[in-house]
């Protein structure tokens, strides 16, 4: 997994287009969900086989975001589902940039196919080196949003 700061930034950038603060939060929470649920299942079920891979698959994204959206207010559920799913998809796309030696950073079509998918651009352990870039992007976002609020 990439660090959650990188995932946070990857969701926060498109999140600036979402005006409603609660929906924006759901997009960001969505990007945390694949790892939280994957690790949660890993620790709760005490079984490392595949839990993380299922939460990083299309079926996992749809089921987990639907389950999560049921816990928000009824009027927010439909857009909430879409934004949670979008956040989870962004997470998986970021993870797919890792080079897992061709084994695949994600198995998108579980449980139907075990074929792994990855772009293979970056050593999985080196994602933590993206932290300075993440912080720079966050600083720019913060500045732009602050300026935008002043103009309004």
């Amino acid at each position: 997994m990439a660090d959650l700061l990188t995932h946070f930034v990857a969701a926060r950038v498109p999140g600036t287009l979402v005006r409603d603060g609660r929906l924006q939060a759901l997009l960001v929470i969505g990007t945390f969900l694949p790892d939280i649920t994957g690790k949660g299942l890993y620790w709760v079920l005490d079984n490392s086989t595949g839990s993380q891979l299922v939460t990083h698959s299309i079926a996992g994204i749809l089921l987990i975001s639907y389950l999560a959206c049921l816990f928000v207010e009824e009027s927010l559920r439909r857009p909430g589902f879409l934004l949670l799913a979008a956040g989870m998809a962004i997470h998986v796309l970021v993870d797919m940039t890792k080079d897992n030696l061709g084994a695949g950073a994600a198995m998108l079509f579980l449980p139907f196919s075990l074929r792994g998918q990855e772009f293979g651009w970056i050593d999985p352990e080196n994602v933590v080196l993206l932290v300075p870039i993440d912080l720079a992007i966050l600083a720019v976002l913060w500045f732009l949003e602050r300026r935008g609020r002043r103009v309004q």
């Binding site: 997994m1 959650l4 595949g50 299922v54 089921l63 207010e73 030696l101 352990e125 933590v128």
Partner: protein, 151 residues
Amino acid sequence: MFSDRGWLLKVAATLGLLALVLSVSRRRIAIEYPHIEQMAFFNESMRERRVLLWGYKVRALDATGFQINTWVGPMQVLSTHPVAVGDYVTVVARPAGYRSVEALRLQINEGFGWKRPLNYGLSVLVLIGYLWLVRRRFRWRIQDGVLRGKF
């Protein structure tokens, strides 16, 4: 689909479907990608499978490769890739025999000892920090069984 009607049923059905996807996936993955520990019970049917080793520490070197520690004792990784004792490696391998796998692809994870803990530490901080910052955007009404928007 998104209404409050049959809320409990929807939650239960989604959980059931998720459990089904999990169990089918895990069963298939366990067959196609056996754990390294299963090499202690090697049989010929395993030969065409793939074993994925993430962040294992090289414990000893020998003429055919190197050794790693597992829950069931040391395992041999057959490899011509130069590694040193103490290196962390990620390997895609195929079963080669009793307690032995052959490396097909190998990557040395430099800085694994500090990058991985930093990754986890930072992730926990970001998660807690963000949830703390947005806590006021939602409020928990447990009596309704759902999170309600505050506004």
